[in-house]
């Protein structure tokens, strides 16, 4: 909402500097996003385009000769909309303009453009800082005086408001004026609404029927006869231009002017184009179409509300008028519409037609049902004044959705409870009064507050509390630290585990990354097995921002692999990353199951002596060490069993089991995937389902006594089939009493070990709590180990 300061000043005295006023308004909830000071255009003038010639060296450029009142300049112009006769803003050398690319102010200098010298330029609205429009040059109204500084013609300070959706009343200059008045202790000058009713009565000439009262609570119509269509007066055109609207003709300009002034969208029909002189407000019929004022054709559906005559729709209610009833030069009788439409319906219609207009923007927020009549009266007064017409006696006013005025009962105690301060009744009454509320104080403790008709957002006592707070200033409310009882803590074990895993993986030396959870289908499918895809088909978005961001991830694999590849391009040494995040497993007719996963990925040469990459690359056991270290920190024991998955290299995948349950994967990603993601080298990836781990993570660990007696250490080497997992041999050894630990220190194949066999060498520690093991005890334990390994694994003691 653009509010020219001089227009605002018509309704309220501006007693503060504009910056301070803007801050007060912003603090009170009406955000002034920008203050545009038009008066600062130096060396920019109103010019007229006199002649256009093609640029000798460039097809898209023209040479424009611009008259500046006694002097003529020829400059290079690239705008598609430049035309002879236009009044345009012309900048001479030295003017400060906004660079349309950077948005920063720059000084215009003489330049040679494709071999032709250009000593000035015709400006776009963006270059002048008026708006973001850079599609072409700005075209001024035809009556703009040639040669005068633009600042004198357009010079106007404009406040740009970002009005929140609860305040449609502030989408009007009068509404802003009411706020200014309340904030600065001034009073509002309401615009005059009276007009001479010189024409015959409206009743009997035009008829209005509301067939859909649920979507049209009120419809006010009036006739103005004998209008002569022409340009509106310069002052009105300038105000409209400064507020960002394009002047069209006097009738249309008045409807727009009153919309900006009072916030009520109006529409003017050419009465003679309405078949039967009749307005029907009804739902559209299936298949109806309407050519709109902007030249597009709308296909209407029965959910949409239209204004129709006897035969056909002539406007989409609250959105845009139709071309078939447009006011043009030949119009003699105008039917003015000032209505109230159901906000959600207007919003749905505008959205489905992709037509967000000034009117729909206001209606969708729920305008006051009491606004149509004063707004119609205001427009009729201006039409009588400016269009040479005579206004018919009376208006048609159908009000099926008539409401009572809103009264809110507010207790003094409630205000204190919300605001934290007990306000004196006189202050309450004064502040509310300044905003147009009237307040009746009923001792001992109650106010009855009558809400002014334009404030559709005030319904409950707390709304009134906000009014009091924002007008006197939030900064003036008391501040105190939070006190009161602290609720008893509730455990959140999964979250705690997740954060421990984050810390542990960082401590192990991996970098945390956070990837987007959206991906394209093919990328997701490339890292999933068919069973995984079938069990949890990825959820699709209905309105993805792009094809790459269409499906919710069911795995962390793709995101990590992509991030690894991206970093490998700029980092020759090892890249080791982890992510802890959710995957989304779809369920029928319910929200997806969101599973907390942790995953690691690592690849590349290990660091060498002085940080140079070494010859040695990260391998499976480096990745496994990360998970093992994590498990140690968590107090978990895990088994790594051979597994198969299409995303991994066959023979290089372990299924991670905790307490016999699968809890994750660890392996080398398939080279096919590595090259698909444009990563390099052997890439190792592991993932853990934190929910699967959670039940096995000890909350507190039990103490085990430490022996005071030294262990006896011995080595043991056995030969087993190559397929026997070393972890099984170790588990068998560690089951034997007296064995404290069995550490694998060598795996050997080759002569003299027979083909198909391997030698496993363990360092054994024998230890007892209450004595040093005797040679005899150790020998017995050792032979028990050998016996069990032979029985269970077919192991032979290596001689």
């Amino acid at each position: 909402m653009r509010v020219p300061l001089s227009w605002l000043a018509e309704y309220v005295d501006i007693v503060l500097p504009v910056e301070e006023l803007a801050q007060r308004l912003t603090d009170a909830g009406l955000e002034v996003a920008d203050i545009v000071k038009g008066g600062e255009w130096q060396n920019v003038f109103v010019g007229q385009v006199m002649e256009l010639r093609p640029h000798p060296n460039a097809d898209r450029l023209t040479l424009a000769t611009v008259e500046l009142g006694g002097e003529r300049w020829t400059v290079v112009c690239g705008a598609p909309n430049v035309a002879v006769g236009q009044k345009v803003p012309f900048a001479k050398e030295g003017a400060t303009l906004i660079d349309p690319r950077t948005g920063q102010p720059t000084t215009l200098r003489r330049a040679v453009i494709r071999g032709v010298e250009s000593a000035g330029m015709i400006c776009s609205e963006r270059e002048l800082g008026i708006s973001d429009d850079h599609s072409g040059i700005m075209v001024l109204p035809p009556d703009a005086p040639v040669g005068v500084p633009l600042s004198r013609y357009l010079g106007e300070t404009v406040l740009e408001f970002e009005i929140r959706p609860n305040r449609p009343d502030a989408l009007s200059i009068l509404g802003i004026a009411r706020e200014v008045a309340a904030l600065t202790g001034q009073s509002v000058r309401e615009p005059p609404l009276d007009y001479p009713e010189a024409g015959p009565p409206v009743q009997g000439r035009a008829t209005v029927q509301i067939a859909a009262p649920d979507l049209c609570p009120r419809y006010v119509a009036a006739l103005v006869e004998g209008v002569s269509i022409g340009p509106s007066p310069e002052w009105m055109q300038r105000r409209l231009t400064a507020a960002g609207l394009r002047p069209i003709n006097n009738v249309v300009d008045i409807t727009n002017y009153v919309m900006l002034e009072m916030g009520q969208p109006l529409h003017a029909f050419d009465f003679h184009k309405l078949v039967g002189g009749r307005i029907e407000v009804r739902r559209a019929r299936q298949g109806e179409r309407l050519l709109l004022l902007d030249g597009t054709e709308a296909r209407l559906t029965p959910e949409m509300l239209v204004i129709a005559d006897e035969e056909r729709p002539v406007a989409i209610a609250g959105v845009m008028g139709g071309a078939n009833s447009e006011v043009d030069e030949s119009t003699a009788v105008v039917l003015l519409e000032s209505a109230n439409f159901h906000g959600p319906s207007v919003r749905r219609t505008a959205q489905s037609l992709k037509l967000r207009t000034e009117a729909s923007h206001r209606f969708e927020k729920g305008l006051s049902r009491f606004l149509p009549l004063p707004a119609a009266r205001r427009a009729l007064r201006l039409m009588a004044e400016l269009c040479g017409g005579s206004v018919a006696q009376g208006v048609i006013d159908l009000f099926p959705g008539k409401q009572k005025e809103v009264r809110v009962t507010v207790s003094r105690q409630r205000l204190a409870r919300v605001l934290g301060i007990d306000l004196h009744p006189s202050q309450v009454r004064q502040t509310l009064g300044a905003l147009g509320f009237s307040t009746r104080w009923t001792p001992p403790d109650t106010y009855v507050v009558r809400v002014p008709y334009w404030r559709t957002d005030i319904r409950i006592a707390d709304d009134v509390a906000e009014e009091l707070a924002r007008i006197s200033g939030y900064d003036r409310l008391p501040v105190r630290p939070l006190s009161g009882p602290i609720p008893p803590p509730e455990p959140s074990p999964l979250r705690e585990l997740r954060e421990r895993v984050r810390d542990a993986l960082a401590a192990i030396g991996l970098q945390e990354v956070i990837n987007y959870p959206l991906s394209d289908y093919d990328t997701l499918a490339s890292v999933l097995s068919e069973e995984e895809l079938r069990a949890h088909p990825p959820l699709r978005l209905a309105n993805p921002m792009s094809r790459e961001l269409e499906y919710l991830r069911t795995t962390l694999r793709a995101g990590l692999l992509r991030t690894l590849a991206r970093n490998q391009r700029v980092r020759p040494s090892a890249v080791s990353l982890y992510e802890v995040g959710r995957v989304f497993l779809s369920r029928p007719d319910d929200l997806p199951r969101e599973v907390e996963m942790a995953a690691i990925i690592m690849a590349g040469p290990k660091p060498g002596r002085w940080g140079q990459p070494s010859e040695e690359a990260i391998d499976f056991f480096d990745a496994k060490a990360c998970l093992e270290s994590l498990f140690l920190r968590l107090g978990l024991t895990a088994d790594f069993l051979p597994g198969e998955h299409p995303a991994f290299l066959p023979g290089r995948l372990a299924v991670v089991q905790v307490a016999g349950q699968s809890a994750g994967l660890l392996g080398q990603l398939h080279p096919r995937l590595v090259s698909r993601f444009e990563a390099n080298g052997e890439v190792y990836y592991g993932e853990l389902d934190l929910e699967a781990l959670l039940p096995h993570v000890p909350a507190l660990r039990r103490y085990r006594p430490v022996s005071r007696f030294p262990p006896v250490r011995e080595d043991l080497a056995v030969v087993v089939d190559e397929g026997v997992p070393a972890a099984r041999a170790r588990a068998i050894i560690e089951e034997v009493p007296l064995v404290a630990r069995a550490e694998l220190f060598d795996v050997y194949t080759g002569p003299p070990v027979p083909p198909g066999k391997k030698s496993l060498a363990f360092a054994l520690s024998f230890q007892a709590l209450d004595h040093t093991p005797t040679d005899d005890e150790v020998a017995r334990a050792r032979s028990l180990i050998v016996q069990r390994l032979r029985e269970r694994l077919g192991a032979v003691l290596r001689g």
Binding site: I460, Y474, P487, R540, A542, V575, D589, L591
Partner: protein
Amino acid sequence: MMSSIAEELESIDREARAALAEATEEGQLESWWQQYLGRRGRLTQVLRSLPSLPLEERRQVGARANALKEALQTAYEERRAHLERVRLAREVAQAQLDVSLPGRPLPVGRLHPITQTLRDILACFQSMGFQVVEGPEVEWDYYNFEALLIPKDHPARDMWATLWVDYERDGERPMLLRTHTSPNQVRYMERHQPPIRIVSPGRCYRYEATDPTHEWMLTQVEVLAVDEGISMADLKGTLADFARRIFGAERQVRFRCEYYPFVEPGMDVLIDCFQCRGEGCRTCGYTGWIEILGSGMVHPQILANVGYDPERYTGFAAGLGVERIAMLRHGIDDIRLFYQNDLRFLEQF
């Protein structure tokens, strides 16, 4: 006879001292000792021959030989001490390193800067007695909008451009990626009774084109306190405390009116710009003030909807953008850096 022994002593004296001066290593010292003072050493032999000498001569030669033995022993000790000093000096000289060479690299893992900032924020509220609870990222329209008093076709829906899940029920799309963490307010209150003090962090998603200040994935923290007697004063106190703990004890804090459909009154919190100290710079958009979060008093209708008596209980809620706070604290000028995951960026934190 006498003179030959005396001569022998003189020659031992001369030769032993010369040899000792030439010994430079432990081994040479050792054999010198063997040669002169050891069991078969020359001086030992002289001393052993003394008893066979006549008394007079024995006295004279004996005194001389014993004196020589003492002298040589002393010389030996001195030489040894000298050589030890030389050896140490040599070792010390050799021990010198270029201490400016880098240490052997250990892998350094780090938390993502958003994780770090989020933890600081949560720790701040936890120290005030707030508990951390979480909710789903894929949410029902009901919790994300309707329960927060934003019904279908409400214009406030424009404040959160929404990504919808492709799932229809009864002709409607009821499932979405949550656009904020506020749904957790309702989810938590549905299952708990006051007093309530929670913070609820999590990722949120918006249909948004990315640029240096916009990202479609963001991390929010929802703050909610409900109890008897909670007012705007508590809200202001809690958030001012938070702002100073995160941005510095000297920060000035301001409050202003803002609209969120699920609070009444609604409030934004601003701090004075720590870049320019209020002078006006790019960080604060030349206003001197930086908006850090949105908040307000929980709308009484929401309390009533979850079964609380809104006349008895009041509450406040706030929502913080973690990326924005991280950008302000670390001077990061492009929000997209967080999820590009470039190690050259991540390793700075």
